[in-house]
């Protein structure tokens, strides 16, 4: 796996409410360049929302988000999102485009590469996830695991500085989870800065550099995986771990 030009990412005291529903209540998260932070917690704890706030799919009410030490809130959000790749639970591939075109699309339209060059670039990204031979079929003909690997290739093609994974394996059949997790671990080893929202405790424990446990819109506990999993300090984390492990 090639090296990446990764950036650091930091969320500072991020707040977000939908009406009276306070989804994020002062979140701090620091992800140094080239490290992997996993975010765990029960459903509805605000994990996925946090990802969407950090790439400004949703604008925060208060707080700051720093990419490479610079606040991103005053920049163009579309350009910000080109620097942050995102992988979704439901893959969200474009069903009306071929696999290759899914990967090449943003290269052509946003990076303005000529068609041939975008296709070549897309093929090499697909090669990295082992799916070059599927470039000309529609996503719907692929298995869930293959689709998610295409989605990862699509995000990587934009040469992001940070990658977000939003429960990337939750929609997969159990036997397909492994391949996607292995690919994610490869990226982490290659030095990509990653924020991984996950229910895969094994991945969180073995691959990530820090683990952040969220509940009710706040960070309850965070630290290196050894500490978080072996010596949970709060009752909430102890309860959560005993439920999921």
């Amino acid at each position: 796996m090639s090296k990446f030009t990764s950036g650091s990412l930091e969320a500072k005291n991020v707040h977000l409410a939908f009406g009276h529903n306070k989804v994020l209540r002062g979140i701090d998260l620091s992800v140094p360049a080239g490290t992997t932070a996993s975010v765990i917690g029960p459903s509805g704890s605000g994990k996925s929302t946090l990802l969407r706030v950090m790439n400004r799919l949703i604008e925060p009410d208060a707080g700051d988000i720093l990419l490479d030490g610079k606040s991103v809130l005053k920049e163009n959000p579309d350009e910000l999102r080109r620097r942050i790749g995102m992988v979704f639970q439901q893959f969200n591939l474009f069903p009306h485009k071929s696999v290759g075109e899914n990967v090449a699309f943003a290269l052509r339209k946003l990076r303005k590469l000529p068609k041939e060059q975008a296709r070549e670039e897309a093929l090499s990204q697909l090669d990295l996830v082992g799916l070059k031979h599927k470039a000309d079929v529609r996503p719907a003909t692929l298995s869930g695991g293959q689709q998610q690997r295409v989605a990862i290739a699509r995000a990587l093609a934009m040469k992001p500085e940070v990658m977000f994974f939003d429960e990337a394996t939750s929609a997969l059949d159990p036997e397909l989870v492994k391949g996607v997790l292995a690919l994610m671990a490869d990226l982490a080893k290659g030095g990509m800065t990653m924020v991984v929202v996950t229910h895969e405790m094994g991945f969180s424990r073995n691959v990530s550099d820090t683990v952040t446990f969220m509940d009710g819109g706040v960070v309850v506990e965070s630290g290196p995986p050894g500490q978080v999993f072996e010596n949970p300090r709060t009752e909430r984390l102890q309860g959560f771990l005993s439920d999921v492990l």
Binding site: N55, L57, D78, E79, R81, R82, I84, G85, M86, F88, Q90, N92, L93, F94, P95, H96, F105, A106, K109, L110, R138, A140, T141, S143, A151, R154, A155, M158
Partner: protein
């Protein structure tokens, strides 16, 4: 037998039908097609604008699209055509010197079809999974380009059958332009049939017109069914092994 003969004379006066055919082919058919196709195209363009207004984040745009759609879907076609044609026709004549009622007929048909087509497009666009918009925006596309390049193309594909149905309706409704009074060379299929019926004293002219309409609408109806079936089964369905087994199981039980 007397009744049968009378019915045959009324509807199937072959001589009257033969007399009207040349005018149907050379005048009526082209005019009907021009009316339906031009107002169909304008209706699609205006309908897309209405659909985008209808899903816009601007409440004024949404409200305007809503009112427009409610009005033009809620009026009888003949009333719209008459009011637009007779109301705006004279002004249009003064401004442009064009005496033909055609532009006004096309305008009225376009106004109505855009209201229907707008709703068709809107429902199609809104049926596209929200994750598609999110994925496009996460790649770095703005809201507008994401809609235009990712969401709208998928939405349109799904509503193709409904669009063709709308075009069928336009072919039929174009007959109502006769209410504006047409010159001989402007007559569409229905008017020619009506004139022939008046001349021959029986309804065979209408029958000839009916055959022309059916020759257009029936194949289109089947086209709708074909597109519909293809959209539903064209994409190879990924079946779980137990799903496949369930189908076999059902077959075995029935």
């Amino acid at each position: 037998m007397d009744y049968l003969n009378r019915l045959a004379e009324t509807f199937l006066d072959w001589k009257a039908i033969a007399e009207v055919l040349p005018a149907m082919f050379s005048v009526g058919l082209p005019n009907t097609l021009v009316l339906a196709i031009v107002s169909g195209i304008i209706g699609c363009v205006a309908g897309m604008v209405l659909a985008l207004m209808g899903i816009s984040r601007n409440p004024v745009a949404r409200w305007a699209a809503r009112v427009y759609t409610d009005v033009f879907r809620g009026l009888p076609a003949v009333l719209t055509i008459l009011v637009i044609g007779l109301g705006f026709g004279p002004i249009f004549r003064e401004l442009t010197g064009v005496t033909s009622p055609y532009p006004m007929g096309i305008a009225a048909l376009s106004l109505m079809s855009s209201a229907y087509i707008g709703e068709i497009f809107r429902s199609g666009i809104q049926s596209v999974d929200k994750g598609q918009l999110e994925a496009a925006r996460a790649l770095g596309f703005g809201y507008g380009p994401s809609l235009r390049m990712v969401v709208v193309p998928q939405g349109i594909r799904r509503v193709l059958p409904a669009l063709v149905n709308q075009f069928i309706a336009l072919i039929k409704e174009s007959s109502l332009v006769f209410t504006l009074g047409l010159l001989a060379s402007e007559r569409e299929l229905f008017q020619i049939g009506q004139d022939a019926a008046a001349r021959s004293g029986n309804l065979s002219g209408y029958v000839a017109a009916a055959v022309f309409y059916l020759a257009m609408t029936v194949p289109l109806t089947h086209l709708v069914n074909w597109i519909d079936a293809r959209l539903r089964t064209g994409r190879p369905q990924k079946m779980e092994p137990d799903e496949a087994a369930a189908v076999v199981g059902k077959g075995a039980h029935s």
